[in-house]
Amino acid sequence: MTTTPLNDVMAEGDPAQTSNVEQVPDVERPDRWWQVVWSSRKARIGIVIVAAYVLVAVFAPLVAPHDPLDSSFTPLAGASGENWLGTTTDGRDIASQLIYGSRISLLVGLFGGLLATMIALVIGMISGYAEGTIVDDILSFITNVALVIPTLPLIITLVAYSEVRGVWLIVGVIAITSWAGGARAKRAQIITLRNRDFVTAAKFSGEGTMRIVFREIMPNMSSLVAAAFVGSATGAIGAEAGLAVLGLGDSQSVSWGTMLYQANAQGAITQGLWLWVFVPGLVLAILMTGMAFINFGVDLLSNPHLREDA
């Protein structure tokens, strides 16, 4: 929209005042969110990166040359047409492991991030809206406690007690240990929004508390929620890798973290098998960088101060 169409003018006030023509200027209309996000070059790069990973994960069986758990190859083979990145000590194809590994990371990122964001949202919103009451005191206290407990040691402890270490356990544990920061941010945000007149106005419209919180206030913090989701998802992917590296990953499937764990356990470094170590960490870092780049774009939504950068 660069011009105001002629018919897009509104007459206001006394009909007798024919001259009384008002424009509805489109400069005052904020850009749609996707325009803002897409306006950032970093965000564009991030979106492309993440989209590529998603495609690879979804079509892994088509992309991967082999079954990642097939150990019928020559162990310790170098890179070749058959095994693009060589093989592991027990004769598995590294490239295929890498491709299938994207599934675990994205799965943990998506669901871990989603769950953590939801917990943060509910606790933060209720606590912020009830600011100053006993409900807020209790929820804030829980949030603050969760915030000071170091995440990785807690995750390790929780997972260590569990005999079965499926991917859903990991998702759950990551979510319940990493929501606190988000909850605190949302509480702060809702406190500033709550005192805005439109919330009082909604009360005068006869709206109930839940409707005010989730229908009136929440739509105004969608950019914050989106940023928190991308942030939590990135964190969850990192946490999964950290767990797997310590041998606490899902033993039934291949992830980049378990690849690193295997590589270290099998002494890949001492044997000079640096590709085995280098590649999983790199693809992980690229995915997480892509997600962080997306958040540069999302941050522009909530902080217009930053928009002149990009």
């Binding site: 970093k42 206290f141 603050n144 406690v145 915030l147 000071v148 407990i149 170091p150 995440t151 990785l152 040691p153 807690l154 390790i156 402890t157 929780l158 260590a160 007690y161 569990s162 990135t234 990192g238 890798a241 950290g242 590296v245 310590l246 041998g247 606490l248 690193l260 590589a263 270290n264 470094i269 001492t270 000079g272 640096w274 170590v277 280098f278 999983p280 960490g281 992980l284 870092a285 997480m288 960088t289 962080a292 780049f293 540069f296 941050d299 902080n303 101060h305 930053l306 002149e308 950068d309």
Partner: protein, 329 residues
Amino acid sequence: MKYFARKFGFFVATLWAVVTLNFLIPRLQPGDPAEIIVKKLAGKDAALDPAQVRAMRAMLGAPDGSLLQQYATYLGELVRGNFGLSYSYYPFKVTEVIGQAFWWTVVLVTVTQVLSFAVGIVLGAYAAWRRNSRFDSVVTLGSTFLGTLQPFWIALLLLYVFGYTLGWFPTSGGYEESTPGLNFAFIQEAVSHSFLPALALLIVTPIGWILGMRNTMIMNLGEDYIRLAKAKGLPDRVVALKYAARNALLPSVTGFALALGGVLGGAILVEQAFDYPGLGRLMGEAVENKDYPLLQTLMLLTTVGVLIANLVADLLYGVLDPRARRAES
């Protein structure tokens, strides 16, 4: 004064919550971890000290007694500093095992944390001041990428390059032949062994400070008092340091302690890779050997560490920002 009292009150309450959580975690699981360990320990040759068995049960749950009674016993044992025996380092007490590893991690984490804070703040502030310059984009993009690297992975790469290929640094452990203590040989060895672990942590940790400081400072630069400071004709250096950076630093002070938890997490992974004799490696071992008493105690210890750092940061913040004291009273 009220501010400080409140912060101290929060510290005590959180300590209680953390201790209680530590009590609950093992009891959330089906089965009885204490029983398993007691049985395993009994299988070893030495005779079991009944007091230690009691402590173990207090820590990890016992088949008898109500939850409330167990809780009372647990608190009692904690107050006496009785955390049970380590299963993997039997017959040593958990506290003794931890004592061995404690300073290795504390020194490593403190040094890297302070260094990364300093580096991060300076880079972040300068990037914000020279916003949109080449320096800014290099720092922002670079730190974003570095921040996503896995500490464990960096550690392995550093090991590969500087340990195995170039052979500049030792590849595992904390020292070689010297006797631990305040002697030159030991310190020299400890430093050369700690160098790569510290470097691995230093690559990842400043990112939070850089981006946080940069964004707060950019927001502050839009404030009226910065415009006024410029209108006052103060030199750029004064505006940047005394007005913008000083104010932007304040949120980072409270972040300092919370970030410690993240660094501890990173340290666990890095220590694992370097076989560094600190708390992180101990935690890895505890997980591998199902040494629950050791694991629980490590968990409690790291949390309390962060908690204390948090208290200090809050108190410091109260001194630095006059508004904080008022807002809370």
